[in-house]
Symmetry: C2
Subunit: 336 residues, 2 copies
DNA sequence: GTGAAAGCGCTAACAT
DNA sequence: ATGTTAGCGCTTTCAC
């Protein structure tokens, strides 16, 4: 393994000067730089990042911690990839390395320790659950940290969100405007920030239209297809005429169940999802949904985190717009 | 930042002994270990990985290099996630850290340098193209390396593959057995190993059933939905009665086009895809496909790479089984 | 069972 | 423009 020392020897220079030449410092003569680089190439020199980081006491790394990684394999879309793409896209404009950290079940290392031991500068969280101890540990520290879809507060903290409540209210209102009266909801789970917000939107839509809210029409299906089918069956048995799902994956499960019961969408039951998975365009009928801009979420997360790390002022909450996609799954407006 | 030195001072021990205690070495008394760990905890000690790796000259890391990362955002499934899941699943059983490396356009660092500078032990490649210079650099070195879906040869090299030719032949034969006679193919592109193999399977199925092969019925659509629609139109104009697509994404594009032309699947045209995307189960009709076991691909890649890194003997080629999924998109057998 | 000393490869004062 | 020196935090001989 070639080191600076080897290059120094060949060039008859000090290690220091070689280091400076390779790092393109100003106070090195052009001729030296050229010579050093040439020899470095000849000797197949590869810098030792670990030694460098040890002495610099910084790594210029941003970790993207992807929680509930196992879940994604069931999730039929590239939400995660798109978010990552957004993150990388911003990262390319700055000099930071992105280090994805996929949290699998058995991995029990504290996120904070993981990051500190590697001198990582900041974290972006994707899919963090508020009942995750290791997540809370970071939240309660002052480690620079941006979350996507989870609201956090504190020093060096920011959140990238969408206005779940607003869009959920919009969705349910669209259903009500089309004449549906007994609308149930299939939600995710109580530890997800988005679930709470989306339910709030559902409730306020009902309230605005003076529709009595029946708690028993709100079911949780953990964002899963199969569980959503089960919950859809329960709602069908309650004779709902519409179902608002907190995710498209659950809407797919509901659709499956509705069709199995020989009911028609939207004639018998209206259906609305959330997320904007491409697959909603391939079902029959296509499912109405709130399409999220996942690329932008990632991009914004990286942008804000960079500000935090640089100790610049930053927005503590960034809302990313969604697109509301109405299809035949909720039928037609009277004037349509 | 707490270091071993701080702990040593508090414990009135040498740095050496503290290091040994923390690393659970045998020649440290139990009482010392307990004391050291207690103090370490109190002082919020976090090990410095970089210092450790510098002195040990190894990192126990495996890098997963994900090429054509940008492509994945268009790809409507979690193939990549599932492969990663498989890799992590195996990695959990050994003491290696997985370091995903997403190759984005602007990233021009040599993969080999990236790995060497970090003392990474081995690489798993996903989505590598045979025209990628940086990929070839690694292939031509003796760096431990396993590829998924790309055939490589050489020292410390292995490939995880599926038998594309076999399964393609099977798929096309199934169509022929159901009475389809003029079957076109929509392929990916010539730089993909899988494309060449799948076309070979298509051709040999025709040959076996003594069907004349018409070159003009083979179109390339770069694995893309839209392009596949265009090519499907061309095939429709050629009056084919069946289309075999080298990917489900392209089969979706073809289906879209077929329906737009007021033709019926499978009555007018039979359709067969490849990959096993979940979405094929949601189209109408469901699309017949060859479902790949992506989890297993990742798992096997990690398993073989570990063997290579450990300098154990290993299989140079591992074939992962697929599941053939026949749906109504190719109609019924006479005795069905 | 414990400690002293050396060194991993690099960078950064400080000196010239 | 270049070199000297010290040291980042850790592990590991080697000695006791």
């Amino acid at each position: 393994m070639t080191t600076l020392k080897d290059i120094a020897k060949t060039c008859e220079l000090s290690v220091t000067q070689v280091s400076r030449a390779l790092n393109d410092c100003d106070d090195v003569s052009i001729s030296t730089k050229i010579k050093v680089r040439k020899v470095a190439e000849e000797l197949n020199y590869v810098k030792n990042i670990n030694a460098r980081r040890l002495v610099l006491k910084k790594s210029n790394q941003i970790s993207v911690i992807i929680c509930g990684f196992d879940r994604y394999k069931k999730d039929n879309d590239n939400i995660l990839m798109t978010v990552l793409n957004g993150i990388y896209n911003f990262a390319e404009s700055i000099n930071y390395e992105i280090v994805p950290f996929f949290v699998s079940k058995k991995n029990d290392e504290s996120y904070l320790q993981y990051c500190k031991s590697r001198l990582i500068n900041g974290i972006i969280f994707i899919g963090a659950r508020s009942d995750d101890e290791k997540f809370l540990e970071i939240i309660n520290s002052d480690f620079p940290c941006v979350t996507i879809d989870t609201l956090i507060k504190g020093k060096n903290k920011a959140s990238i969100l969408i206005d779940d409540e607003y869009y959920s209210e919009l969705a349910v209102s669209e259903m009500i405007n089309r004449g549906y009266k007994k609308i149930g909801m299939i939600n995710g789970h109580e530890f997800a920030h988005v679930s709470l917000e989306r339910q709030r939107g559902y409730e306020s839509a009902l309230k605005k239209h003076r529709i009595h809210m029946d708690e028993s029409l709100i079911k949780c299906a953990n964002f899963e297809f199969n569980e959503a089918s089960l919950k859809a069956k329960e709602l069908i048995d309650e004779n709902v005429d519409g179902i608002f799902c907190a995710s498209d994956m659950m809407a797919l499960g509901a659709l499956d169940e509705i069709l199995k019961n020989n009911l028609k969408v939207p004639d018998d039951i209206a259906l609305f999802g959330f997320d904007g998975l491409l697959i909603t365009e391939f079902t029959n009928p296509k499912i109405s949904t709130i399409a999220q801009d996942n690329f932008k979420k990632g991009y914004e997360a990286a942008r804000i985190l960079h500000k935090i790390v640089k100790r610049e002022s930053y927005e503590k909450k960034v809302f990313v717009d969604c697109e509301i996609k109405i299809t035949n799954s909720i039928g037609l407006l009277h004037n349509e």
